[in-house]
Subunit: 347 residues, 3 copies
């Protein structure tokens, strides 16, 4: 499987060997992503970073990844795109911009719109999220983080116990992640959500058809076998009437007391971010911030290496990175955040 | 005529020799614009890309062109500019930003505002469109496309038959283009518009004073001599009451049936884009998308080379490009769009 | 005092030796800031230029400064930041973005928000203005300009006569500047403002405690000893009822007639910009535009060199600039603005 010149629209494009080969490239560019080295392999290339829906962190993560390979970035942000407002088709927009740049990242609020963009261009295009559809680079960085955490803990993904918690119906992130995890073997999945927000049946079927164990639950605080991973997502208040919502999110909050009671010292806690830290949101609790099991910032940090790997393979330069890399000469901290523990150190 | 250190505000700055020399430079940078080569002649230079009116494609085209020469871009987009809202004069804004960057592109919704910007700075400034005024880089890329298409077809611009169709009163693009075309000899122009949207008299006078043939028409479907070029533009619905509008745009739509009936296999069809593909807009028809006579994407692709040429001459580096250019090493498609025919291939 | 790896949040971080050492670095990078030379010492580095409050000129000045050192810039602008709208804490936002970039500039409408950003990251962060709080790079470029102007005039900052005029209560710029000036010796300060808009008592106390002379006035047109510097700021209309405002700003306008009557040929006139040039605003008058005592554009030009110096010391590359610098090869004007006099020439 080669991705040279391809579009990256969905995690369904990967088999296990393909995804592992991409993660291997991500691992090899970590010293660049972590600013120990500078790479100029894409010097002269230009990325069109088109965000028809605002998502500052994702936009900057893609942009920084392209810059770290030596390229330049043309951004567009916000909900309006002048020519599309004037009735221009996605076909025309995509084809015109493709004449200016070497690769595209497109985020769009409507499912399928990114694929429509992709059909109008031969230059590599990455789906940066299409509404309720897919967001493959997020699922890939999640898988990369899980593999890195498990490697550190001496664990295997095959046979792991994994709880996925929150709004599993509308959360596109968990849909794509579960598809990728299903490429592995013998996983015990616990899908835990309020009633009405269950994981779509097609994804559940896929999981069981591939021979994984699946348990669907409607309460978080129940006995588990030793959990290797808790993947928490936000329950979006706006999907409920206010009386329905009372209790829902509090009952599904992953926090220190949940970890103390149901997990052990080698459980990994992840979340796609952003998490809602406002009062009464009951998203992933801040009381875990100094708990080394919380991997959320190791997870977001991984986005740069994964996106560098994606651009490298789509543009076919993965074999030329090493010879266009040199040491960085500016100051960087040993740990990026003040609460980063030893697991943040680059091996 | 030298443009080194000059502002590019209007196509009126060019004589025939001057414009052809610019097109020659555009031709020489095509391998860079087409990503076969990488140029770093402007490495370290910074462009201020100031769009006081949103125009994503034009902004990205200018930005990508500056990047392709090795420079970096600082963008500003949208309708507000914080300090101008606080009562800052154009003079102050222009002079302050000029202290930060090496060249400016300015787009502004008001005619004359860009010239006011230009008067306050000695650094090169390009008019990126000033409301109903001028948009010289568009007219230059149009001329460049026409010359390239005619060269391919073995035709000369001198003596050509050219139809310009649509809203000729408010379309600044066609005003500037006709001025440039008038620098050539013996053209037969057909200006075809609804009544009330005719080409301004001053431009018509200029055309005839320079010895060209001019015919003003109010219907598209009439006999023509063999047309070498049909340049279509959008008729802007919002300029009409709804009953007036009925029929207008349908009657003036350039589509496959029009080409079949009134043109031949060597007619070139162009449009400044964006075209309105929404139902009932009757803009340039999508039924021509796979017709090789449709040159609209060859036209928009040309924007990068033309804008590279403009920056090169204004910043005086046109003679140094070759020695700062090397081969690109990343993957690029042979044809940018899935419907691009053989005429898209770089010679 | 070293700033390597530090955050720059406030001018209070500087003593006299520290600030002079920074100005010395700014002086050494002037040929790069003025486009005579190109520097690539930060090639491969990425700046996160986060403007949660719009400020185009400041954003571009920081961005251009980072580019002039060879780095790349990821911008975010405007009043919304998608994930913060979803309830994300400043801690999470700061830590996540810090995983993508090498340095941050943050502007935020609320006092203290930038410091909160800084506490969540170990990468260098520059306060780009936090509402009524601080804007240290502006105060540093002001001090740099004063020192340059005084050097040209053969004057010393120690013992100078300095008038600060306008809204001294809400103008954060003058607060930070006065703190920096207080590091010098024997200055005679004249703080001139409408009643109710006086300089905060804490700053006045600081000035007198450090042994400077201080006179608080409520009228501009009074006898002065020979003034070396008039620093004018805008009186913000919106802080007054309309009848109160009448006269206020006219009485406090610095213009040609004020300079003729109360100053001499060696007085320097500065303003943080933007100035309100709209009718009836009575901000610093445009009738001084061709008066060589007006240093406002020399002042704004200085922003690039100061911000280059800031990034250099925070990222620890100040000692490596010279060996990564070469001559620029593109055209640049001798004077940036058409009204720039000889004092704009680079020494």
């Amino acid at each position: 499987m080669t991705l040279r010149g391809a579009h990256l629209l969905s995690v369904s494009q990967f088999d296990r060997a393909g995804v592992e080969s991409l993660l291997e490239i991500a691992r090899s560019v970590e010293p660049i992503a972590r600013r120990r080295q500078v790479c100029r392999v894409l010097e002269g290339a230009v990325l069109g970073n088109l965000f028809f829906e605002a998502s500052t962190r994702t936009r900057i993560s893609f942009g920084a990844a392209f810059c770290r390979l030596g390229g330049a970035v043309c951004d567009t942000t916000g909900f309006t795109f002048s020519s599309m407002v004037k009735g221009e088709s996605i076909y025309d927009t995509s084809r015109v911009i493709s004449g200016y740049v070497d690769a595209l990242v497109v985020r769009h609020p409507e499912r399928g719109a990114v694929a429509e963009f992709a059909r109008a261009t031969n230059i590599p295009l990455v789906n940066g999220g299409d509404g309720p559809g897919e967001h493959p680079s997020q699922a890939l960085l999640d898988l990369y983080t899980i593999k890195n955490e498990f490697a550190r803990l001496g664990k295997s993904l095959d046979g792991a116990n994994i709880a996925v918690v929150g709004d599993l119906k509308y959360g596109r992130t968990v849909h794509s992640l579960v598809k990728l995890l299903s490429l592995y073997r013998g996983i015990r999945f616990y899908f835990i959500s309020p009633r009405g927000l269950e994981m779509p049946v097609s994804i559940c079927d896929d999981v069981t058809n591939r021979g994984h164990h699946l348990e669907v639950r409607h309460a978080l605080r129940q006995a588990f076998p030793k959990l290797d991973l808790v993947y928490a997502t936000r329950i979006q208040k706006e999907r409920f009437s206010s009386e329905e919502f009372e209790g829902y999110s509090a009952d599904f909050q992953v926090n220190a007391s949940f970890l103390d009671q149901y997990c052990d010292t080698s459980t990994v806690v992840m979340h796609p971010l952003p998490r809602d830290s406002s009062h009464g949101a009951y998203d992933l609790s801040e009381d875990l911030n100094s708990d080394s099991r919380l991997a959320i910032f190791r997870q977001s940090d991984s986005g740069v290496a994964i996106r560098m790997a994606i651009f490298s393979v789509l543009l076919g330069v993965e074999g030329q990175i090493a010879k266009h890399t040199r040491d960085a000469m500016w100051w960087r901290p040993d740990l990026i955040g003040p609460d980063d523990g030893p697991f943040y150190r680059l091996a």
